[in-house]
Structures are given as C-alpha cells and as structure tokens.
C-alpha cells in the first residue's frame, strides 16, 4: 500500500482510536495495524508528538500481568483536531472519488 497515503491518515486513525476508548501503547499499535499496515516504530513517536502537542494526556495503571502500563487519553484539544481531520479527510476522499468517477465517465 502507498506509504504516502498511510502517513497522511495515521494521525486521524490514532486520534480516532483513542477517542473511542483510552488505550495503552501496544494495544493502540495492534488496533491501528488492523486499519493500515504501518511500521510499529512510527506509532510511538506519533503518540509522543500528539502528547507534546496536548492532544493526549497519559496516566499509568499498574497491571497484574506485568509492568505498569501508560494509557493515553484524548483531550478537548485532541477532539477538536480529530474533528478537523475528519472533515478534511471526508472532503479530500470525496473529491478524489468524484474525480476518478468523472474520468471513468469520459472514457
């Protein structure tokens, strides 16, 4: 799959996933990988960046199965960014689809 597509849409997917429910790192990677196949290494830096940009906050939960886990939670700022991205994505993909349909009709 095209790497450029993936990169553009990754932020949107990550924000959406955490918006649905708080998640810890590995859980998030697994769930995002179901939507697009990305290098797992790139998700953590993205999480870092979104946290530094105040779109996420983190909290630790002790786990019985192993080491304490760091959970990510979306902030109001994160939600507003998510909404903006969804609008941009919808418009973008709609335009591309219409363009392709238009090309097909003219064939």
């Amino acid at each position: 799959m095209n790497t450029q597509f993936k990169k553009g849409v990754l932020e949107l997917i990550v924000l959406n996933a955490v918006n649905k429910t708080d998640m810890y790192g590995y859980e998030l990677v697994v769930s995002v990988s179901k939507v697009v196949d990305v290098n797992e290494g790139t998700i953590y830096p993205l999480l870092k960046r979104l946290t530094n940009d105040k779109c996420f906050v983190t909290y630790i939960i002790e786990s019985n199965e192993g080491p304490p886990r760091k959970y990510y939670k979306i902030t109001p700022l994160g939600i507003s960014k998510l909404e903006k991205l969804i609008i941009q994505w919808t418009e973008f993909s709609k335009n591309v689809e219409n363009y392709l349909k238009g090309v097909k009709e003219n064939d």
């Binding site: 790192g25 953590y44 886990r69």
Partner: protein
C-alpha cells in the same frame, strides 16, 4: 539485534533529550517488545519490526521538534562520482537480485557480487579514462603546434603527470565509494537473507524501502538519458572485454574436451587433462550464462 542492544543503541541516539523523556521512551519500546514476545515473536523479529533504527530515532526526535539534518561533507565532484557509482551498483544489484532469487548459497552470492563488482569497476576505470585521454590529446595538439623544443616537451610531460595524478585520485575515489556502497548493500542483503522465505512483512518492507531508494537515486540524476546511456555503455564494454573472450574460451575448451575424449578412446587415459579441461569448460560456461543474463536483462522492470 537483541532487545538490550537495540534499546541501548536507541538510548544513545536520543541522548539529546532529557533523561526523564529518554527513560519514558525506552520503557515504552521495551514494553512493546515484551508484548510482541508474549505474542510469540522472537527478540530479533520484534526488533526488526521497528525497521531502521536511525529513521526511528529521527522520527522520535521530530516529535520534540528536533530536526536532524544529515550534513554531507562531500564536494560536488565527489557527489558526482558517488552518483555515478551508485547508478552502476543499482543496475547490477537489480540484476543480482533477479539472479539470486534462484540461488540458495551465500557463498555463490558473494562470488557473483564480487565478479560483477570487478566488471563495474573495470568499466568505470575505462570509461572515466576517456575525458582524461581527450584532455591529453588536446594538450598535446596545442603544444605540438608550437616549436618542438625542450620546453614544450617539459610542459607536455608536466601535463601528462598532472592528468595521471587526477585520474589516479578519481579511480581511488570510485573504488572507495564502490566498496562503501557495496558494504551497505551487502548488509541490507544479509538482513533480508536471515528472514524466512515465507510471506513476511519485514522482508516486504525492506524491499519496498530499497525500491524507493533506487527510484530516488535514479530520479536524482538529472538525466535519465545519462543513466540509460551508462547502462548501454556498460553492456558494450562487457561484451568486448568479457563476453567475446568467454565465448571463445567456451568453444576452445569444448574442442579441447572433444580432443581429450578422442585420445581416451585411443587408449591414452589422462585424467588430469580431462578434469582440467572439463573444469575450465564448466566455469567458462557458467560465466557465459551469467554475463548473458546480465547483458540481456531489461533493467528497471520489477
């Protein structure tokens, strides 16, 4: 790479950050690797899934708005040489990849690599010689117009020495650049050989990335024409210096083999002679096949 060495290498690359941040990041990756191991992957596989550690470190740092620029200390001329060499290497590494899909032995792969490497180097040495010869001829022509005395001979001599020295430096740079790229390429190749031949996402990613690199390299040269011309020139060179002699030796050795069989039938049992002719013939034919594949390979199609 083990988990420990991966994490410590990563730690070093992130040392510009505050200790708390580094500890936080490292523990996250450590937990991730542990989770993957719980899911059944080996340490090596879990680390490989992260891809290139430098790229990863750059991405992490970019989250803190730290831009890492790789400063190239190459002069324009060195860049030109490197691009030239890179193009040749990309060319034959593509050939090599298509051939090596049928090969299973690492030793044979190394031998093929070295052979093609020597072909490319000798081609480049010959090819790069041309402008120097032209320069010399021009110089000779200009000086020859003037009076034929000791002074003009001295000037000519100095010119010749000057040209030879520059040519020598260029050749050394080509060989050094070639070896450097060869080692990089070979390391990438070794990594992809360790992965099982079953469908594996990492192998695909590495191939994807190297394809992207190849595309970027061939886009970087301003002239696609130059690139194609280079391929053609390499092929012509190979035909004359290797292919024709190889075919000649195939024919000669085949005749020799026929002769040995003939004298066998007449009672002279010379096994030493038989073995050497047979062995040489096999090697010669193998090389001919290789060079044929190289020559008739349509570069660039995947």
């Amino acid at each position: 790479m083990t988990k420990k060495s991966f994490l410590s290498k990563l730690r070093i690359k992130l040392e510009i950050l505050e200790k708390e941040e580094i500890d936080d990041i490292i523990s996250e990756y450590s937990d991730h690797i542990d989770n993957k191991i719980n899911q059944g992957k080996t340490e090596k596989e879990a680390v490989l899934d992260f891809g290139d550690i430098d790229t990863l470190a750059d991405e992490i740092l970019s989250a803190y708005k730290i831009k890492t620029k790789k400063v190239s200390s190459e002069t324009k001329f060195e860049t030109f040489i490197n691009t030239l060499v890179e193009n040749c290497i990309q060319l034959f590494s593509r050939v090599f990849d298509s051939i090596s899909e049928q090969k299973t032995s690492k030793i044979i792969s190394t031998i093929i690599y070295v052979i093609f490497g020597l072909i490319i180097i000798s081609f480049l040495m010959w090819f790069v010689r041309i402008p120097f010869e032209i320069a010399y001829e021009i110089g000779d022509g200009i000086i020859g117009v003037g009076p034929n005395n000791a002074l003009s001979n001295i000037i000519l001599f100095i010119l010749k020495v000057f040209i030879e020295v520059i040519y020598f430096i260029v050749v050394i740079m080509i060989i050094a650049s070639f070896i450097k790229r060869g080692i990089e390429y070979f390391d990438n190749n070794k990594v992809s050989e360790k992965i099982e031949p079953k469908v594996d996402a990492v192998a695909k990613k590495i191939k994807e990335e190297s394809k992207v690199v190849i595309e970027e390299v061939s886009k970087r040269t301003d002239d696609k024409v130059l690139y194609n011309f280079l391929i053609l020139a390499v092929k012509i060179f190979v035909v004359f210096t290797f292919y024709i002699p190889l075919i000649a030796s195939d024919v000669g050795l085949a005749i020799g083999l026929g002769f040995v069989i003939f004298i066998f039938l007449n009672g002279i049992y010379s096994f030493g002679l038989l073995l050497s002719v047979l062995g040489s013939l096999i090697i010669s034919m193998a090389l001919t096949v290789l060079v044929t594949k190289f020559l008739f390979y349509k570069g660039g199609e995947e």
